[in-house]
């Protein structure tokens, strides 16, 4: 097992290097530069733009810039934002808690909805409940979040005036009120993201359950006279959850990556909105850092998923 993990980690190094090289090249080839706003401003002489480009090393050849970046990254220096003129790691760490809170809650909500609904639907396939759950699930994952987000804002903020639609990290209240406000402003984004996730996950849980529920050992358990609840929870779910756990493990990097569209709609200052604004302003170091960290997380959680799978299902051996 230990050997397996070590081997996987060693394989991860060249793949991460490859990813970083591709990311860097694509960004370097992309048009635009971070000081474009200076260009139309008659107050700013062109020399300043050129001096800034030189100062941030934008005039060096691509391979040199990549090597500089790689060396710095290896020493834990994530780079320096052109646009904010501050260290990229502070910028990212500032945004991480919000992303974890919102996206984490959404994932949790998705699980809390998907598992009970999926399991119950599978125990009574093609019943009324199953049909309704299925229909809703299809609607749920066919509606994009940018649509449901705006719909929610129109209904709950503008028509009903119940919830705020601008997410703020600075709530002017203390104690219980602070808590209530923090909840209130997170309701809409968490719902939008959570229900979207829940929809596809419900389908997944249901089919995983159906695969198991028809197996002989389940019939045996029932024949032994065990109650329905006990059969479902102890015998069926335990086995059906193995692929579900893997799926969740693979989705976890997204919790750190944020949700670009939803964050933009609700003005959530998370990683996703940082990424999109950095891309728009050509702030390469930030884009590089965010995407690269994201790549690392994906590789890592893939490994975690594989290890978990082997642990949950001893029939699978990892070598």
């Amino acid at each position: 097992m230990r050997q397996y993990i070590l081997r996987r980690l060693l394989i991860a190094v060249p793949s991460l290097l490859g990813i970083s090289l591709v990311l860097f090249t694509v960004l370097a080839l992309a048009p635009g530069d971070p000081f474009s706003e200076l260009a139309t401003n008659p107050n700013v002489p062109p020399e300043v733009g050129l001096a800034l480009r030189a100062k941030f090393g934008l005039d060096d050849p691509i391979y040199l810039r990549y090597l500089h970046w790689l060396l710095a990254m290896a020493q834990g220096d994530w780079g320096f934002s052109f646009v904010s003129r501050m260290n990229v790691d502070t910028l990212i760490l500032q945004r991480l808690p919000t992303t974890l809170y919102v996206i984490g809650s959404a994932q949790l909500l998705a699980l809390l909805v998907a598992i009970p609904v999926g399991v119950y639907a599978a125990t009574k396939p093609y019943s009324m409940f199953d049909q309704i759950a299925n229909t809703l699930a299809f609607i749920g994952f066919s509606l994009p979040t940018f649509f449901t987000g705006i719909l929610f804002i129109l209904i709950f903020s503008i028509t009903l005036d119940w919830l705020p639609f601008v997410y703020t990290t600075d709530i002017k209240a203390t104690g219980v009120h602070w808590f209530i406000e923090a909840l209130r402003q997170a309701i809409m984004p968490v719902m939008v993201l959570g229900l979207f996730q829940a929809a596809s996950m419900t389908r997944f849980v249901r089919s995983a359950m159906l695969d198991v529920i028809r197996l002989d050992y389940v019939t045996t358990a029932r024949a032994k006279g065990l109650g329905q609840a006990r059969v479902i929870v102890r015998h069926v779910m335990r086995n059906a959850m193995i692929p579900v756990v893997t799926l969740i493990a693979l989705q976890l990097p997204a919790v750190f990556g944020g949700a670009i569209v939803t964050e933009q709609i609700f003005r959530i200052p998370g990683i996703g909105s940082l990424l999109i604004s950095s891309i728009l302003s050509n702030d390469t170091p930030v884009v590089m850092a965010v995407t690269f960290v994201f790549a690392c997380l994906v590789v890592l959680f893939n490994l975690v998923a594989d290890v978990l799978y082997g642990w949950l299902d001893p029939r699978i051996s990892l070598r």
């Binding site: 048009p31 635009g32 530069d33 000081f35 474009s36 706003e37 200076l38 260009a39 139309t40 401003n41 008659p42 107050n43 700013v44 002489p45 062109p46 020399e47 300043v48 733009g49 050129l50 001096a51 800034l52 100062k55 320096f80 934002s81 646009v83 904010s84 003129r85 501050m86 910028l91 500032q94 945004r95 804002i153 903020s157 503008i158 005036d161 705020p164 639609f165 601008v166 703020t168 990290t169 600075d170 002017k172 933009q264 709609i265 003005r267 200052p269 909105s273 940082l274 604004s277 728009l280 302003s281 050509n282």
Partner: protein, 598 residues
């Protein structure tokens, strides 16, 4: 006819859909005098205008929070690194210049004790020096006194090329001397009629010497003050999250009486313009939102029964279509649109004049920009004394057809005109932005009727406006026949605005397309006029010279002006923001207050 229209306009002023000055200007257009127009409004039941920025609160603080929504949040808070408007706006909450621009483009003293003038001895008769008297007793947020040393330091800081300050152009050609602790003298190399670019407005913000002296030059980016500003402003810095939030609290030692009104201030960033308009006008979650690049139709709909309204400020921003003087399709020494070529079609003045006749400015204003634009014939639209009255425009397909016929451009079998085997086909590019694409469509339609074929092209804004030398699609390279965009006027003086188009500023491969004269217009008369204006100290003669420069641009159809654009903000019904069309939205932030319902 005049009667109903007049009534409608008075109503528009009453519920704030038209500003007073716009009304008065229109009335003057009808031949009424300004006092008469004001009288009309008074009869119509609109309160009389007061002196600029009538500040009513009688005590400091007590106004609760002021919540600003900038759909692009500030990403840094050092005014001398502030590349974008958003960064200048954010920095200005904490830092202050010696003077700001008021609504009419006049100077309003902030850190200065008075505005220099010939009368008070502040301005030298030869236009080569200015003496600024500073307000005594002003303190930085950390308690240290503000003195002339800080002003001198600000100039040195910005002037150091290694600092890479974006404000360097303002301070490059001048020297600042300390006269005494509260007096500085600014010395110019040559007579400078517009002396108020240094230490005024966004790039005029004074920075503290005691905190930044060690971080001048190459070490500039390491200063902690870049992210945690210490200024003299009405609000003290509390928290900054780049792109997301700037937060401040009242400065109890602020140097102006009864100011500021609000106890805390926050500037939230992110999202898009339409939802920002909603958050202010419809739900009232925020008090003010900036830069409402939203179609007027949408704004009007939001304003119905909403909690807020749109506010307008008139400056000199101009949206135009530029006509290429060089040939974008011939490459000379690895450069298209080279100065060694002339445009095969647009070198004919008749074609240029025809194009000007084919831009239906009134339709564009009515259908697309609404209250946010005014039709104009001029490239230079303000301040008032610089606006030419010798020019005119009209939209007439018939006249364009006649003009082209007379010049020998005959329609071919496909309806497209041609002369000497050259077809009237033009490429018209602009940045991706819904109103601009609509404008393109309107112009294309009219041109089609006159037998000119336009091919439309739109480029992502971040590419179009970039200074990337390798990219062929930037506005500066101008690899097309026509291009449309907006040039903002950043100060109430035409000097920088008009200097762009002198021949030595042409954008070429040699200067990496950094030259600002992108239409590649070279005209000796224009060069002479602008050069003369730059050192002309007689204000009347100077205004005459810039009017002449504008008329030259008009005569040769260097541009087809589309609209004189206004600055649009969204404000809650009770907030009284002070927005000048000549400066950043927050340039008079100390004067903002809220009118409580009584």
């Amino acid at each position: 006819m005049l009667d109903t229209e007049l009534r409608m306009m008075v109503d528009e002023v009453k519920d704030g859909r038209m500003d007073r000055r716009a009304f008065i200007q229109r009335m003057i257009g009808f031949g009424l005098t300004a006092p008469m127009a004001t009288q009309l409004l008074a009869i119509g039941g609109v309160a009389m205008a007061q002196s600029p920025s009538p500040y009513k609160p009688t005590k400091r603080g007590g106004g609760g929070p002021l919540k600003l929504l900038w759909w692009q949040g500030p990403t840094l808070l050092n005014p001398h690194f502030a590349t974008g408007t958003k960064d200048q706006d954010g920095s200005r909450l904490f830092y202050e210049p010696l003077a700001s621009w008021d609504l009419d483009g006049n100077l309003n003293p902030i850190l200065a004790a008075e505005i220099p003038s010939i009368q008070n001895g502040g301005l030298a008769a030869d236009g080569k020096s200015v003496i600024w008297k500073l307000k005594p007793g002003v303190k930085w947020h950390d308690g240290k006194p503000f003195t002339a040393d800080d002003v001198v330091f600000t100039c040195d800081y910005a002037n150091d090329l290694a600092t890479a300050a974006v404000s360097i152009a303002v301070y490059r050609d001048l020297k600042v001397e300390k006269v005494d602790d509260h007096t500085v003298r600014v010395l110019f190399n040559s007579p400078t009629p517009f002396w108020a670019s240094a230490f005024v407005g966004a790039y005029g913000c004074i920075i503290p010497q005691h905190l930044l002296a060690d971080y001048k030059g190459a070490k500039s980016r390491e200063a902690a003050t870049n992210l945690a500003p210490v200024g003299t402003g009405a609000y003290k810095f509390v928290e900054f999250k780049p792109g997301d939030l700037v937060r401040g609290e009242i400065n109890p030692d602020y140097h102006m009486p009864n100011r500021p009104y609000f106890d805390t201030i926050e500037m939230k960033g992110g999202g898009d313009a339409v939802s920002a308009a909603r958050a202010v006008i419809q739900t009232g979650e925020y008090d003010y939102a900036w830069n409402m690049q939203v179609e007027d139709e949408v704004l009007l709909r939001l304003e119905k029964g909403g909690k807020g309204k749109t506010v307008y400020a008139t400056g000199g921003d101009i949206e135009f279509i530029a006509l290429n003087n060089t040939d974008p399709n011939t490459e000379v020494d690895g450069e298209r649109s080279s100065m060694k070529t002339t445009h095969p079609l647009l070198s004919d003045p008749a074609v240029r004049k025809a194009l000007a006749l084919l831009v239906d400015r009134e339709a564009i204003q009515k259908v697309i920009y609404g209250r946010a634009g005014r039709v104009t014939a001029n490239y230079l639209n303000g301040p008032g004394q610089f606006v030419s009255k010798n020019t005119s425009w009209e939209f007439s397909v018939e006249k364009a057809i006649k003009l082209l016929d007379d010049a020998g451009w005959k329609p071919g079998a496909d309806g497209i005109r041609a002369k000497d085997g050259k077809k009237l086909k033009l490429l018209y590019q602009t940045s991706i932005n819904a109103p601009r694409q609509k404008t393109q469509a309107i112009v294309k339609q009219a041109c089609q009727r006159a037998g000119i074929e336009l091919e439309l092209k739109s480029v992502v804004a971040s590419v179009f406006f970039s200074s990337d030398v390798a990219n062929p699609d930037t506005y500066a390279k101008f690899y097309s026949d026509l291009e449309e965009f907006q040039i903002p006027m950043t100060q109430p003086d035409p000097a920088l605005h008009m200097k762009r188009y002198v021949s030595e500023n042409v954008a070429t491969k040699a200067n990496k397309w950094q030259g600002q004269n992108f239409p590649r217009w070279a005209n000796k008369d224009y060069d002479k006029v602008v050069e003369a204006a730059e050192t002309e100290t007689d204000p009347v003669k100077r205004a005459g010279l810039y009017i002449k420069a504008n008329d030259l641009l008009w005569e040769h159809t260097v541009f087809v002006p589309v609209l004189h654009r206004l600055k649009v903000g969204a404000s809650s019904n009770t907030l009284k923001p002070v927005i000048s069309g000549w400066a950043n939205d927050t340039d008079n932030i100390q004067d903002w207050y809220q009118e409580r319902e009584t």
